[in-house]
């Protein structure tokens, strides 16, 4: 039955299309559909009131004529606006909606003041795949054997892949598992730094020592940011030692492995490397699909399999971007009140990708590479042939080509070399990436720096 309505409407529209100008057709009839047919009356659904008013007054005769050509039992047309639902049950209200509201108003502030952990993060809601299997099983093992099994536990990976989720989940699980007998504390390295600064200024170092050395599980997020801040590093080093000697669990996250944080002091680095280092890499296709399905279930929404497949195939960057795109698509779906087609999904993804690259320019890339390797922009752009400049410069060339598709002569000129050097560098890095995962990791980190800039 439904199929027939669609084909009938399609035929009618094809005929109308020949009678109207393209603009008029696109504005007034494009997003229409046939909702029902009852005793010779066709119920036509139009996207908004303006379209209804226009079509009802101007095109009714033509439409009716066209309809009769295909089905002579049609006597009348009725026009509706989408959303003005035929006789669908009214939308479910109150209880669930109210809960959603409450969650939202509290979510932002829901962190537990004692531990700083956000109870939203649990191990159950963490989607596991081969890209994060090691990190996840280590996390589960730590919950069972706090402080003895993998200590310190160092997890690294790109932006939006779930590091924070995982390490906060460990804290939450420990709290639930031991009913609060084991004291956890979660802190971002930025917060740790500002605490140390505050303590130095107010001569209250003892407070800080007590605050951080008096816990059983210390979780520090984004440790790469303490690199280069000497006093903070020192304080962290002593805290680390104290906790470690007393068999307290230490959990650390970073966007790159310890050996790639250039400003980190050697003694800290070697300590990080003494425990378990696990990485989280980009999720593969199956896992991305699982994540999308999980999100849909969480928000009680539905999306066609084809659309899910398309999102999982196209969006490869990170989980946060995946969520962002999914949200946009769901919003689109709600606004239009119609299922989204693959074409719409593709458009949304493309638009998001464009936004991404438009923000990046060449000097940003060079600056970020220089920042990552701790060299000066002048060195990169100059003629210096020092060994420590060679790799950064080649990577900068590669990124200019890869991200902005710049011409080789331009790249050469920009970085004080000629175009053959640029061609060589891009080719070399391109091949190297396949073999050398450390280099790949570096490039990913640099890209993140660029996008953050």
């Amino acid at each position: 039955m439904e199929k027939n309505l669609d084909t009938l409407w399609h035929s009618i529209l094809s005929e109308m299309e020949t009678q109207l100008s393209r603009a008029n057709f696109a504005t007034w009839l494009k997003n229409s559909r046939l909702a029902d047919e009852k005793e010779g009356t066709l119920f036509v659904v139009l996207p908004n009131n303006f379209a209804k008013e226009w079509v009802e007054n101007k095109y009714q005769k033509n439409l009716l004529g066209a309809a009769r050509n295909f089905d002579d039992s049609v006597k009348k047309l009725e026009f509706l606006v989408s959303g003005q639902k035929l006789d669908l049950a009214p939308r479910k209200v109150s209880a669930t909606d109210f809960n959603k509201f409450e969650n939202k108003i509290n979510l932002e502030f829901q962190t537990d003041p004692e531990t700083n952990l956000n109870p939203r993060y649990t191990l159950n809601s963490f989607v596991v795949g081969s890209s994060n299997e090691l990190a996840f099983s280590a996390a589960s093992a730590i919950v069972q054997n706090v402080g003895s099994k993998y200590n310190p536990f160092f997890v690294y990976g790109g932006v939006g892949l779930g590091k924070t989720h995982l390490i906060q989940a460990i804290g939450n699980e420990i709290k639930a598992h031991y009913r609060g007998k084991i004291k956890s504390k979660y802190v971002s390295s930025e917060k740790f730094t500002s605490d140390v600064v505050w303590a130095i200024r107010n001569r209250r170092m003892e407070d800080i020592k007590k605050k951080y050395r008096d816990v059983d599980v210390l979780i520090i997020d984004d440790i790469q940011f303490i690199g280069g801040k000497e006093k903070t590093e020192e304080e962290f080093f002593h805290t680390f030692n104290t906790l470690y000697e007393n068999n307290k669990q230490i959990i650390i996250s970073s966007d790159r492995p310890p050996q790639s944080i250039p400003t980190l002091e050697e003694r800290l680095r070697s300590r990080f490397e003494g425990g378990l280092i696990a990485d989280i890499v980009y999720p593969e296709y199956e896992m991305r699909t699982a994540i999308i399905k999980g999100k849909l279930q969480e928000s009680n929404r539905e999306l066609g399999d084809a659309a899910i497949d398309l999102i999982a195939r196209k969006v490869k960057k990170n989980v946060r971007e995946l969520e962002g795109i999914l949200n946009k698509i769901l919003f689109h779906q709600e606004m239009r009140g119609a299922p989204v087609t693959e074409k719409v999904v593709e458009e949304i993804i493309e638009k998001a990708a464009q936004n991404f690259t438009r923000r990046v320019n060449d000097s940003q890339i060079i600056k970020s590479v220089a920042e990552f390797y701790n060299v000066s922009v002048g060195d990169l752009e100059g003629h210096v042939r020092k060994k420590e400049i060679v790799e950064p410069r080649q990577i900068a060339m590669y990124l200019l080509r890869d991200m902005l598709d710049m011409s080789y002569p331009y790249i050469g000129e920009k970085l004080g070399k000629d175009h053959t050097t640029a061609i060589h560098a891009v080719k070399k890095i391109d091949q190297e990436i396949e073999r050398n995962s450390l280099l790949n990791q570096k490039i990913i980190s640099i890209k993140e720096l660029i996008f953050r800039a």
Partner: protein, 370 residues
Amino acid sequence: MKVAVIKNNLKEGIAAVERAAGENANLPILKNVLLETEDNKLKLTATNLEIAASFYVSGKIIENGKTTVPLDVFSGLITNISSERIDLESKKNVLEIKTDNYQATIHGISSEEFPLIPKISNLNEYIEIESAALKEALSQTIIASQFSELRPELNSIFVDFSLDNLKLVTTDSFRLAEKTLTGGQFQSNRQEPFNLLLPLRSGQEVLRILGDDGKVRLCHDGNQILFKTGQAEFFSRLMEGTFPDYRAVVPQKFSAEANISRQELLNALKLAGIFSARTNEVKMNVLENKKAVGISSSDQTLGENISTIPAKFRGDAKEMSFNWRYLSDGLKALKTDEVFLGLNEDNKPALLKSPNDASYFYLLMPILKT
């Protein structure tokens, strides 16, 4: 069409409809304004197919008719013409503008092409509100809303009519404002209570169109709404979705209450704002044996400050942090010299209102310390 109008009247009309015009690659006529004679007046209409605004300009109608011209061109001309009296005459799709020392012709598009403004089916059922009261209510509530792509139902003003009162509510989930209009401020012949979601943008437009005098009539059916004043009409589609049941989060009791001078608190917040550059966070403390409140903020690199304001506290309060901009927004919406502030433990919203005035309140979530 042939009409003679006074420049300032026409300017007022253009200003009222200007922002309803739209951009649409398929339908270039949306950039135009429809000029037509109706009821011995010149009626201007603009629409973007989401909203539509009309304004009746009084003038001398010599010959009936209608046409459309690009609104930006028309507006530019009328604004800069120096003469008081303007003659407009349309021949086919060309509009001729004439004053005693100026003459122009603008090429337009046939009025046949202009979208038809949807009609409301039950114009006889309405609520009639004092313009000034609706204007105040809108301006007091709109501040608590901001555009969010994720929660479209919050990009709107919840209008809740329950026969003897009319509530306007907005929230962006960090703050919430509710205004109640009561019997004296409106009349209605509607028999049933109803509620609807007015898109935020439409609310802002209505606010612009409303004058300080007279009344505005509000009619709606299904998914559209019409605001009608003596001179203007504003049409909008309504938002779909369900507004959260916000009543449950409105606190009924407070662990601490205070009456504070509105102006002094506003000044203190402005001062504290200077030191809270990035996070907008200011701290509020009860001082001097509950006889004063301290508003302080600090920044590692800039420095720190504290203002002390006399206040009468009842009950106990710990230190709390707020976004000073949000707090100022709420204070600015109030008109009285003294304001009532109700506080609860950490995670609960604070409430702001004028003492002895139950018609308006502003809720604000505190920032939780980390």
